[in-house]
Amino acid sequence: MKPLLYLEYRQTINSIKNTLRSPKRLIPALFVAAFAFAWIMQTVLLLANAPRPGQFGWKTLGATVHIESLVHSGAFLLLSFGTAVFIFQAFSTGSLIFSIPHIDFLFPTPISRRSVLLMKLLRDYVKYTLWIAGAAIFIGAPVMQTLGGSLYPYGLVSIAALVAYLLFVINVTHTLNIIFTFSFERFKQLGIAIKILLILAIASSVVVGTWHFASTGSADFSLRDAADSPVIKTVFAPADWCSSLILSPVTALNAQKIRFDKLLLLWVLAFVSFMALLSRKENIYEPSLGVSVKVARMKQAMRSGDATALRVQTLQEKGARRAKLLFFPQFGQGATALLWKNLLVRYRMSWGQLLLIAFLPPALVIAIQRLVVWEELLQNLPFILVYMAFLLSITVQPQVRAELKHANILKAMPISAWNVVFVQVMSGTIYLALGTAAFAGSMWLFVPATRTSLLLACTIGSIFLGFACISATVIPALLYPDTRDQAQNVFCNLLGVSLVAVALVPTVVLGVILGILLRFSAIVVVIPVCVINAILGFAGIGVSGAIFRRFDPSGD
């Protein structure tokens, strides 16, 4: 135990020192700390000035009881589904995750496996408790404030219940994982039985809920019925206790009794499962090897802030070996081939996003159709499209920075710097155009009221606007290419957003003057908008081309 404590202690002290020493890490840390502090102070002040329940109280007790039971049902379903997913995973992939240094240097030492496990579990428990407590303060306190109550003291019951439940689930998951890694064959039937039970419980509640919704159309009562279905209530009884205890502050507000017996039961479960886990004699190191390496790679990709690396990692996870579905016919030579490659990579890396771009707009249109007055929306159409252009162009920047990782290859190609940058901008613009067209197209299809020249004009205009915006975001990407450097990331994002904002100005000014003040027709307004955006876009590309010509790819 002593060496493990030494390890934890030194690592903690050193990382604090390391943060304090480098301004690059210190500044973001201070920001986060200041933010958290401000939030907590605000919460404390809120609590101090909180009106007594008697003063305002509940408007009508009936309605709040209804909401309370709804929240209870929602929390219960969330907890049960989450638990089911957790336990399911335990059968296939390892659940105990150690760091790679642990695997390399701690596992071979004669420190007993039980101490290592104990230390790891305690560490995890503390981490989860802090998360839960943080979440309770950040979310629970304002909610309780608006309800006219206070998080203290019964919020502590909620936290205690959630922590106990989480520990219980984690311990059970680890235990199952260990047993099934080593005695896979022996307990085959048991494994299948557990899986069937879980599926049955979840399925029963889904069926009940869906059936209820189909027959009554009332979402909240369906939710409650789904949570009340007897199978799920029995299988996930601890989740039920926990979800009712989460609401303790509200329960107290409603002057009902808090079930401390259930809290006690949850802690007993947590403790018993903890002892069961610690008493396992199997080699707990083994199941953790594979998954730990995977997690470490993921973290690495995440830390480097490289979206592409992350995606590559998940593709690897899924075992994507061949390009099969992700095929894209080749075209072009020279710069055009580069365009093809960019489109292909983008398509392979983010076809999920692309599907989203294609299907989300119609879904949104259909969903909000009943809620909004279309005539009003129509007037805002230009703003919606401007906003879309803005959003879509912001997403291009990470892609360009990922591309710059291969700058030494790009620079070695017999393609002019200007052309390379142009291709980067164009491949972003093509996807932006697709997204915008999907949105406009679905409006056209599903909402007859929007079939006007305004829609056409806005679509064309926003594609050109997108071109200008993307061209603007490429400049900071070239200036600050290193995604591993937090300071560069911050500057790059800030500069990108501000440049895009600048690029938006001419369009907005022209639109307001010509379209709103002078009341020209949409088609007339869009022509100068397109022209000015094209000029802006090419100007941006010119600047980027000049930067790229002097770009030093040996940066890393």
């Binding site: 050193n14 390399d104 701690l106 071979p108 030492t109 199997e282």
Partner: protein, 250 residues
Amino acid sequence: MLKVDGLVKYYRKTLAVDGISFTVNDGEIVGLVGPNGAGKTTVLRCVTGIVQMTQGRIEVDGVDLEINEEAVKRLIAFVPEVPSPYEMLTVYEHLRFIAMAYKTLGNFDERAYELMQRFDLYDRRNDFVLSLSKGMKQKLAIACAFVHDARAILLDEPLIGIDPKGAKELKNMILDTKQRKGSVLISTHMLDTAEHLCDRIIIIQKGTIIAEGTLEELHQSAKMGRDASLEDVFLSLTEESKVIEATSVS
């Protein structure tokens, strides 16, 4: 003395090691060579108790791994393949942590000084491991293996990425261990090093031993001349067993 007897290892359903037996005597250096995925790392991991063997017996100086794992681990030192040490420790602290883990803090400071000098880490002793180069991390991992007086030293690809001086020091340390009558097991792809450093060589493929012995004995089993290098022997033997397999299948 390290004794491995009938070692079988399944990772769930994949067979990684299929019945391997060998002995590394006191004062002997044995090389474990084989193509990628042959099971070298798995053998070393079984011996160090990082993974649980499915079948077999492993003994170090007569102590059974299954019966007294901690005692066996105390007798062993292990240098992992492409090690990644704790980044948030300093070089000195890292060595100290290892010494604590093996309960050999006794003459730690002299020992650490000597090791850091040998592997050119002394100037960096108060730097975070984070700031070390890849080769320096490898050297640190090697230094960690020599912090305690292990009876058996297992090294997984120890020579990758270290400079000639580091490699020379490592070889000296290994020869020292041999002098002290320790047992050394090295898994490696660097056949010329294996040829010069090792007393005996075990060639494994697909989890089984296909040849074992001194260089001379290997020459004989491959039916090759005395002047053939280990590389030739290795290629000939591993190809040969593939051919045998192919014919036995058809």
